[in-house]
Point group: C2
Chain length 320, copies 2
């Protein structure tokens, strides 16, 4: 506990070493992690959390890199959390995301973290949310969260951002990938990356049609924001300032309309319910003997009883 | 309850109408759903559950279609569950997966279901597992589960299969997509689809290198299975029988080594823990006033307390 609170103090004072250790501590999710998060939490709530998501091959990693550089050029500090759908077994990131960030290395106004998979449903979302809080609490003005945006957990993570940028690229297949991945409805800013490739205009048009169709969203005044569709070439930085401007405009919109706190509330509610679920399971597992759980698993495997009936009996008996 | 048990009886007798209604019932996850699953569960455990997963653009939908046709040609009944990472808001599938299955329509030995997103973390995995059980219980010999394979939830779903086929295609980007998505370690059979495209041999070689590197897995005797790397052109059916042979060989391997029941046990354990978590939350929410939960959300939003502390206090007070 003492160590955790010292790490928090040092991280708040700007120590990168403490920050890195703090994040590792939080990823490990032990008792110290909880203490550290509790100490850090009052310092959070300042950062603009921006999700950047898109199918593999859209070049969103390059875009995130360029956004970070452009933010630094404007004097804004930036944290990057890259969520790798990495190995469920090794728990390690397979590709060195940090390598591609080489030109940002050494800049104290940037901090980049690649998340390994937590190996279990929901674990990734929890860990990502906690790491974002650490970077927020440590004072980074913008936190970019990069997710692959083709899975349920990744969409859920993207939904926790204040602003979600959905990246698309021409020529990835027959259909617009963001459409296929169900990302259109969470997009606050749409970017057609690799805009120098053939088909970019078609992709933008396809997106416009869908956004137009979704105009009910803006018209209904639900949030009064029409997602802009921008073109960019992340590789050489073309269009990146415009993306940044759109992201900033969305933040102003959220602030002006009071939607900022609405998004916070939705995120907290999800986090609270997920944490409740996990904590109750942890408490149950601490009081029920493992052999008892195992016996129910065997009964389900033998088709003597189905999972839901097993759960009810288990809770009614040992667990309540 | 009466209606649910009649649906189960009729579905077991082969009524497709009852089967479709039963699946809808189970997706809705009400009291009747639990009763239906309990009635159906003793009839499950016969089907070979085969996950087919890969990044968008690999052509895995076409491959699934061809696998289903080839199975039918061998006289094997087949159920297909296509997991769409579809809209988190509308909850509806955006693309008509059933359309592409046109040539299978009217065959009573095939049943195809497109899953909509459940809109919450873990919900998709639960619903998919339950629908697979319905098709298993209804007597389909093979159940193909198609997932996009680029997200945590989707990887988790793929892991619940007896056999996982990972689909790759040349030219989707700089790196092998399966590698990037962390799918290599869950692959029992690897397929390089679109093998007539340039770069197919390179993709196969890249996969072979990784599989070779993972040889420790087979060498260590963990499961004694070296995942074959096959090439296919799903569009015209080339290589599809070989994929099916590899899938069948893997089933025989699982049966012969006793790993079949091991995979069942792992799946049941995950399902049991997830169901426990959810049931405990449901019971808590039934006993705590919504305003009480909302009050804690507000305190967390106001940074008076962090989520984990809120959960502990909530459980210690109202919730025990």
């Amino acid at each position: 506990m003492e160590a955790a609170s010292r790490l928090v103090t040092e991280a708040l004072e700007g120590s990168r070493y403490a920050l890195a250790r703090l994040i590792s501590l939080i990823e490990d999710d032990g008792v110290d992690a909880r203490a550290a998060l509790a100490a850090l939490y009052p310092h959070t709530g300042q950062a603009h959390i921006v999700g950047v998501t898109g199918a593999p091959g859209t070049g969103k990693s390059t875009l995130v890199n360029q956004l970070a550089k452009a933010l630094r050029a404007r004097g804004v500090t930036v944290g990057v959390v890259a969520v790798d759908p990495s190995s469920p077994f090794s728990g390690g990131a397979l590709l060195g995301d940090r390598l591609r960030m080489r030109d940002l290395a050494g800049d104290p106004g940037v901090f980049i973290r690649s998340m390994a998979s937590r190996g279990s449903l929901g674990g990734l979302a929890r860990a990502t949310g906690d790491v974002v809080k650490v970077l927020d609490g440590a004072g980074f003005a913008v936190v970019l969260v990069e997710t692959v945006g083709a899975g349920q957990a990744e969409v859920d993570i993207a939904r926790t951002a204040h602003t979600t940028v959905v990246v698309e690229a021409p020529g990835l297949g027959d259909e617009v990938q963001a459409l296929k991945a169900g990302l259109m409805e969470i997009a606050d800013v749409l970017v057609v990356n690799k805009a120098d490739r053939p088909g970019a205009a078609n992709t933008a048009r396809a997106l416009e049609m869908v956004v137009g169709r979704n105009a009910s969203r803006a018209a209904a005044g639900e949030d009064g924001w029409a997602p802009p569709i921008l073109q960019a070439i992340a590789l050489d930085g073309t269009g990146v300032p415009e993306v940044l401007d759109a992201v900033a405009a969305h933040r102003e919109h959220l602030r002006a309309t009071g939607l900022w706190v609405g998004r916070e509330r939705a995120r907290v509610e999800t986090e609270l319910l997920n944490a409740l679920r996990q904590e109750m399971l942890d408490r149950l597992l601490a009081r029920v003997r493992p052999e008892q759980i195992q016996a129910w698993v065997e009964r389900v495997v033998a088709r003597e009883v189905d999972v839901y009936t097993a759960v009810e009996r288990l809770l009614d008996a040992g667990g309540r």
